[in-house]
């Protein structure tokens, strides 16, 4: 139990201490971030060896207590969030002299980590609402760190996010009205297919899809993610949108009555198709490099949503593996993309994609990071993205969904188009954009690190799949 509790309380306590002693914030931040990593690794190993664990917080009875549960998936998500938290804060530390973020970044990123870790662990509908709301508010506060120009997107993000959590809360209240229980494992299989539950599940799904930026409810995402500082965008795209997706998965795989599944699968699959096509097209058309990466997040979330839709329809292990491999590989790849683009943008003084001309010559490391991460977004081997797409294709082939195979091919071509749009420009060495100052090496290496971790995912594919309890 202790590793799980520490993974949540350490960043929370650190955030509060940082508010008391702002001068010590950075030292404290790195001490905690480095300390959490072995904790998360040992917790992962402990759960793989001894199996799933669960606790009722405060030793209350099952009806009152908040249940925490740690299975392979949860521990993996805990480890990935801790890793990305450390990487992104190292990046922020490395650019501290050049363009410092406001000091509020340190406590806020710790609060973000704490609420995210609590979300991965919690199995209580109302507690998940509190985690979601915390996560949303901290994310908005992080967006405002880039100053006045981000205020409007941040406020829009906040309003969307508050509306989404209220929808979710109303759904929770309706479920509680029918059953008097908030604990997800206790509710599993209990829900009947009546209209009250239909309304409740629709409201919760609507709220979560809005928060997870599922197409066509993604409108807030590109503005908010593009106007945030680059390291913050990396955290938001890599981790924050995955939280609601996780709750959506819990809701529909354990809670929902079987009679609702076909309708939900249909809804999710159409949202996924829209996301993959229109997100991809928007990423190809946008003139700004950060918007390109933000729209690519919308498109990439489409793959995970598609996998979720097929989990509901066919219940093949391939789809479960595909969904979570997409989430994990996208988290790492998108962090690398945003850090690399942030570095390129800052050094070249260029906000537009056109101005990245010749970047392979002027800033080869950052460009390499972007290309490797982009390879995973397209699904080129060897990478986590390839593994995920392979699992999805395998599942679609087995269930004979040939239309969706075609849709997946088109979506892949679109992602290749927007990744190569940047890469081709970067190799256009005729008249490269001159850097404003000599490029820094350390931040570029830090952008490269998550991209290399996506490669490592391909090497450790077998343990990953067994951890997700799936055997292909």
């Amino acid at each position: 139990m202790w590793p799980a509790v520490l993974l949540v309380t350490l960043p929370l306590a650190a955030a509060l201490l940082m508010l008391l002693w702002p001068r010590r914030a950075r030292v404290l931040h790195f001490a905690v971030a480095v300390g959490l990593l072995p904790l998360a690794v040992s917790f992962l190993l402990q759960v793989t060896v001894s199996g799933e664990q669960q606790w009722f917080l405060g030793n209350w009875g099952p009806l009152l207590a908040i249940r925490w549960q740690a299975d392979g998936l949860t521990t993996l998500l805990l480890l990935v969030s801790v890793t990305l938290h450390l990487l992104v804060s190292a990046y922020v530390g490395s650019i501290q002299r050049r363009n410092p973020l406001p000091a509020a970044f340190w406590p806020l990123s710790n609060l973000l980590l704490a609420s995210l870790q609590a979300l991965w662990l919690s199995r209580d509908l109302f507690n998940l609402y509190v985690c979601l709301e915390l996560l949303g508010m901290v994310a908005v506060a992080l967006v405002t760190l880039s100053g006045d120009k981000a205020l409007r997107p941040a406020l829009d993000y906040l309003l969307y996010s508050l509306f989404a959590s209220l929808c979710y809360l109303l759904g929770v209240a309706l479920i509680y009205a029918g059953y008097g229980v908030l604990d997800i494992p206790m509710l599993a299989g209990q829900l009947e297919a009546n209209w009250l539950n239909a309304v409740a599940l629709t409201l919760m799904t609507l709220g979560l899809m809005l928060k997870a930026a599922c197409w066509p409810l993604h409108l807030w995402l590109p503005a908010a993610h593009a106007s945030a500082p680059a390291p913050v965008s990396a955290l938001l795209s890599a981790l924050v949108v995955k939280g609601p997706l996780f709750i959506l998965y819990l809701l529909w795989t354990t809670l929902a009555p079987a009679a609702f599944l076909p309708a939900a699968a249909y809804l999710l699959a159409s949202a996924a198709l829209g996301a993959m096509l229109f997100g991809g097209i928007a990423a190809i058309r946008t003139p700004y490099s950060k918007s390109l990466v933000a729209y690519s997040t919308v498109a990439q979330l489409g793959y995970a949503t598609l996998a979720l839709a097929f989990i509901l329809r066919f219940n093949l292990p391939e789809f479960v593996a595909a969904m979570w491999l997409f989430v994990l590989s996208h988290a790492l790849a998108k962090a690398a993309c945003f850090l690399a683009i942030g570095e390129l943008q800052h050094t070249l003084g260029a906000r537009q994609v056109e101005q990245l001309k010749g970047a392979s010559q002027t800033m080869p490391l950052a460009m390499f990071a972007f290309a490797v991460a982009g390879g995973s977004l397209i699904g080129l081997p060897p990478s986590g993205g390839f593994l995920a797409k392979w699992a999805l294709l395998l599942g679609l082939w087995q269930s004979q969904q040939f239309f969706w195979l075609l849709a997946l091919v088109v979506a892949t071509l679109l992602s290749a188009a927007y990744v190569f749009r940047v890469v081709v420009l970067a190799f256009d060495r005729a008249a490269p954009t001159a850097p404003d100052f000599s490029p820094q090496r350390l931040p570029q290496y830090l952008a490269l690190l998550p991209a290399l971790l996506v490669w490592v995912m391909a090497v450790f594919s077998l343990p990953l799949l067994t951890l997700l309890k799936q055997e292909l």
């Binding site: 109302f126 509190v130 709301e133 405002t144 006045d148 406020l155 508050l162 509306f163 209220l166 109303l170």
Partner: protein, 94 residues
Amino acid sequence: MLSFYLYLATAALLLGVGSLGLWRGPELLRRILALNVIGAGIFMLMVSLAYRPVLYGEPADSVLHALVLTGLVVAVSATAFALALLGRLLARPQ
């Protein structure tokens, strides 16, 4: 029994009014207030649900009361944050 349905109807009305205000907008302050009205509707619904056992002579459901208290704290801080952001947005030099 009538009072219970009256409370439920009020909660539904608040939800409707809030949603309409949020949809119509377009001023940001109106949208923030509309979100608060929706929140009030949901809390009203939860409190009336907590009142349900009282109709049968049992004590009220205190779990729902605790949830509403938590929800109120979250709603107050979210509103404060939204208003602070709006204040900064309006004070910004054009």
